[in-house]
Amino acid sequence: MTAALEGIKVLDFCWVAIGPMTTRYLSDFGATVIRVESIHRVDTLRTATPHKDGIPGINRSGYFANYNGGKRSMALNMSQPKARDLAKELAKWADVVTENFTPGIMERWGLGYDDIRQSNPGVVMFSASMQGRGGPYSNHPGFGPVLTALSSHTHLTGWPDRTPTSPYGAYTDFLLPHLTVAAITAALDRRQRTGEGCHIDFSQLEGSLYFVAPPLMDYAVNGRIQTRQGNRHPVYAPHNAYPCAGDDRWCAIACTTDDEWQSLGRLMGQPSLASDPRFSTAEARKQNEEALDEIIGRWTEPQDAFELMHRCQKAGVPAGVVETCEDLFNDEQLAHRGHYVYLDHKEIGRHAYDANCFTLSESPPIYKPAPLLGEHTDWVLREILGIPEGEMEDLRQSGVLS
């Protein structure tokens, strides 16, 4: 069986989240991905929790491992000229060069797109940055989580009477790899057909706006500034997370048609609710939403969240348990799809990785554990650059490979 990206060679300078998640897709589908790392500027994710047994260590982070499965790690101290020379040699080997530093760093190393294409004209270079190249904020430092503030996701999350919350984590870092993988594989397709390479300048902010398009368009055309609504929907009711038995347990229920609402009423043993003038139409339910939520909440409160969801779904009513991370690992559907893949990592041992969110019938992914920092340095020097053992020892001694 041929892997989808078989033969594709990736030189990967990406770090933290959006970049490594992007290149993990490439690695899962058969590309050879060499991650350039350094002990002198360790990837933030290598130091991030969780660590195996709670003991910190650059090879013990589950966060890092999950986004770097299957890659080869090469240690290079890029502050040394000899290291930059080796990186330039690798850039000649690569079909794809990826990076997500603040714009300007790769250029300083002599590894900007214009440098690399001199010796590798068909290279596909991918650069992701917070706000894109050019423009006043191009070099403004920041971490992934601030993008939801700039994109208006933060403004649109939480309660109308309170300070906005932010969607959990570095939210957009994990949505955007779908777009970046699409862009890189599209560029590879053109390269394969025409030999033409390109530089993909990806602004994480611009990509994030894809996921808030309706409110943005509402402002652009109607001048309306939408805001956060808790769990309320502009048209549908009921539409909320309802309390269930146990501590902090909830089930989301949404009725998108009168039929679904009537089914819910019957399920509640209160079919008269459907004809109650306060609730008989979607409009009326929106107007009396507080009363509606209270009645439903009283009904859901003593019930087990999962049993409630299954009962609602059987009756044709959209419902979903508000799953904790523990629930996800016990979720029957995710288990059926094989969502958590357990792999043996050299230092962590057996632990979970996310599987891909799509299956390919003819070219399934191959999952492998994440590398230790510098685990494949010798392999890269020997197999790709053909450097003799004696010279490798000199490089080691001078600290280039660290």
Binding site: A3, A4, Y25, P50, Y63, N66, G132, P136, Y137, H140, P141, A149, L150, S152, H153, T154, H155, L156, T157, G158, T163, P164, T165, S166, Y168, G169, Y171, F174, H178, L179, A183, R193, I200, F202, P214, L216, M217, D218, Y219, A220, I225, Q226, N231, W250, A252, Q313, P318, G320, V321, E323, T324, E326, L328, F329, H336, H339, I348, N356, S361, E362
Partner: protein
């Protein structure tokens, strides 16, 4: 980049973003809609709040870079035409509930018979099979079942979804990635295949480190409102200011330390500095190492300072003084953000409307700066172009199908 490829887009509103992504990358995306207009056209917001199918702004965004033909895929008569469209396409995208498209005779098995090398992309909440495959999902219930909701919201209130739909959009974006990975496989082998997308999985892998924390430490992460845990303490990230909110965090470490010193200097210049801010050696505090006492002492002067300034002013000074502070934009702010304007991100397009309009609107550009852009089509706008000029149908044939309301 994808100019040689044709995409047959049979999705409804749920899978609409996939074709938009492929269109941004240059593919010829043909949206097949019934003669009365696509389901996605019923999704708001609407121009002037008038829910006419030509007025949907959801459509205006999701159908940009697509061409539209009308065809009632439920009608018997549509088969020959569909077969021709399928033969001329390289990708087919659909987002019906599992099993439904088979009843139309358009399942992967049937389509593969017509075009063996086609890449067939199915976007569903939970994937094509499994115990929840037939479960209904809305954005709310989908975000609940994928773990995002539990982690989002204020600690003392129920968990919340993001107030604008994410679930299908994330799944549909991932479908574009899956389709193009499969396309590369086809370049190598000539083979088509089925790409089966689960929106639940797409969101479940968007939870930062939270699932791995469960796997390794058996700890369920909790929702934190406008705070983030850094080290052993919770730090505020969203702060109120004179006209809204700003995002600011001082997590310690080198970058955070310099940012905090710069902010303190600015406050001193304005005569509202504070001893704690001035006298703390911020450069000495490691990442996540702030003491609870320090956090308590530094918070009130920061709150007061932010409340005295607008978000635009704070953001402008943050850039100049290299402070890690960002405006919490509302949708209006996004359109006047200097960075997006400097990069010429927005596009002008005719207003989507069924009446004759000469006015234009600002709309979102392609997701990469070199991408394509054309406005979303009207219902059946490209019928002649595609049916007649490209598929070579005769006038009579088109007129007959129109009379029978097939196209």
């Amino acid at each position: 980049m994808l100019a040689p490829y044709r995409v047959l887009d049979l999705t409804d509103g749920r899978g609409a973003l996939c074709g938009r992504v492929l269109g941004d990358l240059g593919a010829d995306v043909i949206k097949v809609e019934p003669p009365w207009g696509d389901d996605a056209r019923r999704i708001g917001p609407f121009y002037k709040d008038d829910p006419h199918p030509e007025n949907s702004l959801f459509w205006a965004f999701n159908a940009a870079n697509k061409r539209s033909v009308t065809l009632d895929v439920d009608a018997e008569d549509s088969r020959p035409l569909l077969t021709r469209l399928i033969k001329s396409s390289h990708f087919l995208i659909e987002s019906f509930r599992p099993g439904h498209i088979e009843t139309l005779g358009l399942g992967y098995g049937a389509v593969k018979e017509i075009n063996p090398s086609i890449i067939y992309v199915s976007i569903t909440p939970f994937g094509q099979d499994g115990p929840y495959a037939s479960y209904k999902a809305t954005d709310l219930t989908g975000m609940a079942l994928s773990g995002m909701m539990y982690l989002t919201g204020d600690a003392d209130r129920p968990p919340v979804r993001i107030s604008t739909p994410q679930f299908w959009a994330i799944g549909s974006a991932s479908a574009a990635a899956g389709a193009l990975i499969a396309n590369h496989h086809r370049l190598l082998t000539g083979k088509g295949q089925l790409v089966d997308v689960s929106c639940q999985q797409a969101v479940a892998r968007s939870l930062s480190h939270a699932p791995m924390i469960w796997d390794m430490s058996r700890m369920n992460m909790q929702r934190q409102g406008p705070f983030r845990p850094v080290g052993k303490i919770n730090l505020r990230i969203n702060w109120e200011c004179a006209d809204g909110y700003v995002n600011f965090i001082q997590p310690g470490g080198h970058t955070g330390g310099r940012s905090m010193s710069n902010l303190s200097d600015w406050m001193d210049e304005e005569g509202v500095g504070h001893a704690v801010l001035r006298e703390t050696d911020w450069g000495e505090i490691g990442f996540g190492q702030l003491s609870p006492e320090l956090v308590e002492a530094m918070t009130p002067p920061l709150e007061q300072f932010f409340m005295s300034k607008t978000k635009a002013h704070l953001a402008e000074q943050a850039l100049e003084r290299r402070i890690l502070l960002f405006p919490v934009h509302d949708p209006k702010d996004v359109f006047s953000y200097p960075q997006l304007l400097a990069r010429d991100y927005f596009r002008e397009a005719e207003l989507p409307s069924y009446t004759e309009v000469s006015e234009t609107m600002k709309t979102l550009g392609p997701f990469i700066s070199t991408g394509s852009f054309r406005r979303a089509p009207r219902i059946g706008e490209h019928n002649r172009e595609i049916y007649q000029d490209e598929l070579g149908m005769s006038d009579e044939e088109i007129t007959r199908l129109q009379r029978e309301k097939t196209i």
